[in-house]
């Protein structure tokens, strides 16, 4: 009996070994991508027929979060309305599932696939070489390859002016910021938030509380409460769905908040202004270029000079304060004010 078991165990070892054998296909995907030479325009095939083009959007969060992912969905809808192409989207995709979802779209014959966020850079770099006929765009990611383009914002612009507004409104001399983590994209705005605030009030203290997620509402609320207990009276909610949690905490404590990505004054009266990133414009512009066949290779940078970033109306500032921020924005556009942006 023992011998029989031994034989079976040996067969088990064989089974493990089998997975190792017969590797003729080997490491297809680790081979360098068959990319066209870098630089210059690559897609010179001319204009495409919109009725034959399918555009897909993959989001990490929910498209009704009222912030970052909602802006992508809005962009996709504008693409469908203005350009007349077929569109589809998938929301709430975990990082681990991204490659599979992107592959599924490519296999279903989608021509242009947007990944909405820096976290799509890596999965798209993996998948792009497998589908040379598909064009991949990773929004906010600093990536490029033959058929993969990244678009980035000039991170750091909005943070500066939000910081100015926060410092003007603050009475305690302490302000807070609640970002998800200190990834480079966020770090740029966190740093300039402090710079902008110090430009108005050099003695101001800036506190940061990370949530570790883009949509953990209860955690954002807890983080807000801890910042409020430290004496902060203006909070910048640098997240997606969790911004609502920050606003709730601010309303309860009777202090001010600043929104991010879209004008969030309609979500809460506590919001005195919002830093804007018009992701929709980026989507429409990219899709237009794809259809015209004029898509440039390399990372595309969108900032305030392109109208892709900016500030919302100022609700909680006096006219002089608002004018001061706007003057600073004009100085920046004229090149008189230097802001250390990421790109």
């Amino acid at each position: 009996m023992k011998r029989k078991l031994m034989a079976l165990l040996l067969a088990g070892a064989l089974a493990v070994g089998l997975a190792a054998c017969s590797r003729n296909v080997g490491t297809e995907d680790s081979a360098p991508p068959a990319s066209s030479p870098t630089g210059g325009t690559t897609e010179t095939t001319g204009a495409k027929d919109p009725s034959e083009v399918k555009v897909a959007l993959v989001c990490g969060g929910a498209v009704n979060d009222g912030g970052w992912n909602a802006s992508a969905y809005e962009g996709l809808q504008r693409i469908e309305e203005t350009l007349g192409v077929e569109t589809a989207y998938t929301e709430k995709v975990a990082v681990a599932e991204m490659p599979q979802v992107i592959r599924t779209y490519a296999r279903q014959g989608f021509d242009l696939i947007f990944g909405h966020g820096a976290e799509f850079g890596e999965p798209m770099s993996t998948v792009a070489p497998e589908f040379p006929d598909t064009t991949f765009v990773a929004v906010n990611a600093n990536v490029e390859a033959g058929n993969l383009t990244g678009t980035v914002f000039k991170f750091g612009e909005c943070g500066y002016f939000c910081g100015m507004a926060a410092a003007m409104v603050s009475e305690t001399g302490k302000i807070g910021i609640i970002p998800p983590d200190d990834a480079p994209n966020n770090k740029a705005d966190i740093d300039t938030y402090e710079l902008g605030a110090k430009a108005v009030n050099p003695d101001i203290e800036v506190y940061t509380a990370f949530t570790g997620s883009w949509d953990d509402l209860p955690k954002a609320k807890e983080a807000s409460e801890s910042l409020i207990s430290k004496g902060c009276d203006v909070l910048l909610a640098m997240g997606d769905a969790y911004a609502v949690g920050v606003y709730q905490a601010c309303e309860n404590a009777g202090i001010k908040a600043i929104g991010w990505v879209s004008d969030q004054h309609d979500l809460s009266d506590a919001v005195i202004c919002s830093g804007l990133q018009s992701v929709g414009d980026v989507y429409v512009a990219t899709a237009e270029r794809y259809l015209e066949g004029t898509m440039e290779q390399g990372v595309q940078v969108y900032g305030m000079p392109d109208g892709a970033q900016g500030m919302s109306e100022f609700y909680g500032l006096t006219e002089e304060q608002a004018a001061e921020v706007e003057a600073a924005m004009q100085d920046y556009l004229d090149g008189k004010l230097e802001i250390p942006t990421l790109y």
Binding site: A11, L14, A15, A19, A20, A56, A88, V101, R107
Partner: protein, 361 residues
């Protein structure tokens, strides 16, 4: 008809009824949402099986479910309820990734088995903790193994954001494993790899050991009645421990198969809920290796078909989770109820006969 075949047919009938019921419920839900149910189910089926790439994706997702499901089936059959598949799977995958990244210069025929073995050892040792506590101290293994899931998953997630994080990466992820630790693809146009063949072989092996050997018999005996087995001279504790360790090792293998097969690096939460899905697979497969194989492929196909369906029909993601839940619940409900359909149908035809028999009695 002998008893076994009859039970088999009953089981198959119950599954068909369960599926029909599930699709009827989902159809009503879709109609209410204003989506054509027939078209949606066609998209689901097409996404699961039509075309090489779709079929490949289904089998790819099925592989870890089959491997882990076998482990759970084994432990449940032996009467030790290992719910800790999630933690064992993460630690197994962690071990395989670590070995895959850090062992440089090995030939693939050595590197791949080492990674697999590492994942089995880590998964097995993680399962040994609740197993040992159960056998020596009588702690409830369901509770301890579930709690250890959190420890395991968060340890791995912590590792991926600290000492095992790829320097400079934006996402919390490990470095890529060496090419010598990557499994070969077996179907062009899809990510299907040799780990699926390995899963098939392990199913066969499991079947042989469990039903044709001495050890398998003792394992089954312990599961049927531990007290009786002990009095008839079986070392019950040893076999309980063996069952939970092998169960953990298979869960670990389910994790490493994903990393070495197609993900090639580990991200945080790389395989969400697989450790719990394998329990559903094991139960749907009636704790039988062949059943687990079929249930694993079924759930894998459902997963992969659902994502295509979502794309083609624009159904919100949340409806997918409802669909999967309804199907799993329905199958479990019917298959566990053990309804004797043959008896029921036969009863209708033989009503008179049974009445006369009743009179005689």
């Amino acid at each position: 008809m002998n008893k076994r075949a009859r039970a088999m047919v009953n089981y198959l009938i119950s599954i068909v009824i369960a599926l029909l019921l599930a699709f009827a419920i989902i159809g009503a839900l879709l109609l209410w949402q204003g989506v054509d149910p027939v078209e949606t189910f066609m998209a689901l089926f097409q996404g699961a099986f039509i075309g090489k790439s779709n079929l490949g994706a289904s089998l790819l997702l099925a592989t870890p479910l089959i491997l882990g499901g076998l482990g759970i089936a084994l432990s449940f059959r032996c009467g030790i309820f290992n719910i800790g598949g999630e933690g064992q799977l993460y630690l197994g995958a962690f071990a395989a990734t670590w070995l895959g990244v850090n062992l440089v210069g090995l030939p693939f025929w050595l590197h791949i088995p080492i990674c697999f073995l590492g994942s089995m050892i880590f998964g097995g040792l993680w399962a040994l903790i609740p197993g040992y506590l159960k056998i020596s101290k009588g702690y409830n293994e369901t509770v301890t193994s579930v709690l250890l899931n959190y420890v395991g998953v968060y340890f791995v997630n912590y590792a991926l954001s600290s000492f095992f994080k790829e320097p400079g990466a934006l996402n919390h992820q490990s470095p890529k494993i060496q090419t010598s630790a990557m499994l070969s693809k077996i179907m062009s146009g899809s990510e299907l790899n040799t780990s699926f063949l390995m899963a098939l072989l392990i199913v066969a092996l499991f079947f042989l050991i469990f039903y044709k050997t001495d050890v398998g018999f003792k394992l089954r005996a312990v599961g049927q009645n531990a007290e009786a087995s002990r009095t008839s001279g079986i070392h019950t504790r040893k076999y309980l421990l063996l069952a939970i360790i092998v169960s953990g090792a298979l869960s670990g293998l389910a994790g490493s198969a994903q990393v070495m097969g197609y993900q090639h690096l580990m991200v945080q939460n790389f395989s969400p809920n697989t450790g719990y899905d394998i329990i559903a697979v094991a139960l749907m497969g009636n704790l039988h290796p062949i059943g687990v194989l079929i249930a694993g492929i079924f759930l894998g196909a459902l997963r992969s078909g659902a994502s295509v369906m979502q794309i083609m029909m624009g159904v919100p993601v949340t409806i997918l989770y409802i669909i999967q839940g309804v199907i799993i619940l329905s199958i479990l409900g019917f298959s566990r109820a053990n309804i004797d359909f043959i008896g029921l149908v036969g009863g209708l035809f033989r009503k008179k006969e049974s009445q006369s028999m009743a009179k005689e009695a």
